[in-house]
């Protein structure tokens, strides 16, 4: 079972925050196939948000095939979704750590690094110079 944390003024709609937190929990193996997500009632009682916000997040995840909503039973992590292998995650995290250290040494601050990463993640991967 996971706990959601909703930030009201992050600029990210609450339903996207929930969907992101579920996706991340699946990727990191915190949620495994067959695990039940908290019910709408449990979520709203814990974080005080509108019930439709939770429903919208769960529907979105269902559409992506990550969860399986079973009427009257609950919402479950779909069979067949796989977490990133933890060895891979650890190794990637270490190499990213080295990269961050190198970028800092080159004088980049956090904002520069985020911009560079976002730009590299673009499909073309083209670097635009500001």
């Amino acid at each position: 079972m996971i706990e959601f944390h909703i930030q009201s003024h992050s600029g990210v709609p609450s339903y996207l925050q929930i969907a992101q937190q579920v996706r991340q929990a699946i990727r990191l193996g915190i949620l495994a196939p067959g695990d039940k997500l908290p019910t709408v009632k449990q979520v709203v009682a814990a974080v005080a948000i509108n019930p439709n916000t939770v429903l919208k997040a769960y529907r979105e995840l269902d559409r992506e095939g990550l969860v399986d909503g079973r009427r009257g039973v609950g919402t479950f992590v779909a069979e067949g979704v796989v977490a990133l292998a933890s060895d891979d995650v650890d190794s990637l995290r270490r190499s990213l750590g080295r990269w961050v250290a190198e970028a800092r040494a080159a004088g980049l601050d956090d904002e520069n690094m985020s911009a560079l990463l976002a730009d590299t993640l673009q499909p073309q991967g083209k670097l635009r110079v500001a």
């Binding site: 909703i6 009201s8 003024h9 600029g11 609450s14 709408v40 009632k41 709203v44 009682a45 814990a46 974080v47 005080a48 948000i49 509108n50 019930p51 439709n52 916000t53």
Partner: protein
Amino acid sequence: MSALRTEGLGKRYGGSAWALRDCSIEIPEGSVTALLGPNGAGKSTLLEMAVGLLEPSAGTIEVLGHSPWEEAEEMLPRIGFVAQDHPLHARFSLGEMIEYGQRLNPSFDVRLAERRLGRIGAAPEHKVGKLSGGQQSQLALTLALAKRPELLLLDEPVAALDPRARREFLATTVEAVAETGMTVVLSSHIVADLERICDHIVILSGSRQMLAGPIEEILARHRLLTGPRSDARTVSRVHQVIRESHTPRQTTLLVRADGHVYDSCWTPREVDLEEIVLAYLGYGELEDRCDEEAYA
């Protein structure tokens, strides 16, 4: 069917000025609506007409398809109402409050009331007057919820609460919505309190209705346009300009956009709900704001 529907609704007390006029809103069943506006905007008047405590002076109001004033006897058990000062009997114990609620309401759910009061962390023999502000508001909410209402009206429920009690109060409210599918209308003069839990808003100001509708749609339709200093009239032919402000070189407009056609001199940005609400309430309407250039 809508939970609450008004058409040209108005109220004046005696021969005095209108406390509310020309109010036409529709609140769907199962929604959570924030009723926003400064003090004296007409929020309590609207809620009191919805619960059948006040007779409309003009127009119509329907709750679940019925007139709350003319069919008060039938409607009252279906509506939960927590007034601003949530009148409780200070010298009653919690147990006596539950008994009192049970005698006044045929459908009162005693087990639900006891279960919820257990969570407040006070024993049945505890006197109401000894409860904290947060506990008192939870008690008032509990008594209203135990009626199992189809429409719950809360007048300024969280204004006097500290942040933790506020969050607990709102959580209890939405939990009941998730459980029963009831409709909730809560009034407040601060949008930040309610934004998380609401899906609809109604804004009142100076006894008039300024805006009403689903929050998602309202966010999608409003944009903040910034551009070189210019006359707002060029934009207002296409979009409704809610607020304009100018510096010697720049003009900023908050518009209700009908479609997404902007002249290329404007940079459109999304706006959050708080900014939209403030614009409709007339804040930030500053002509010719001085900027550093004026002092140079």
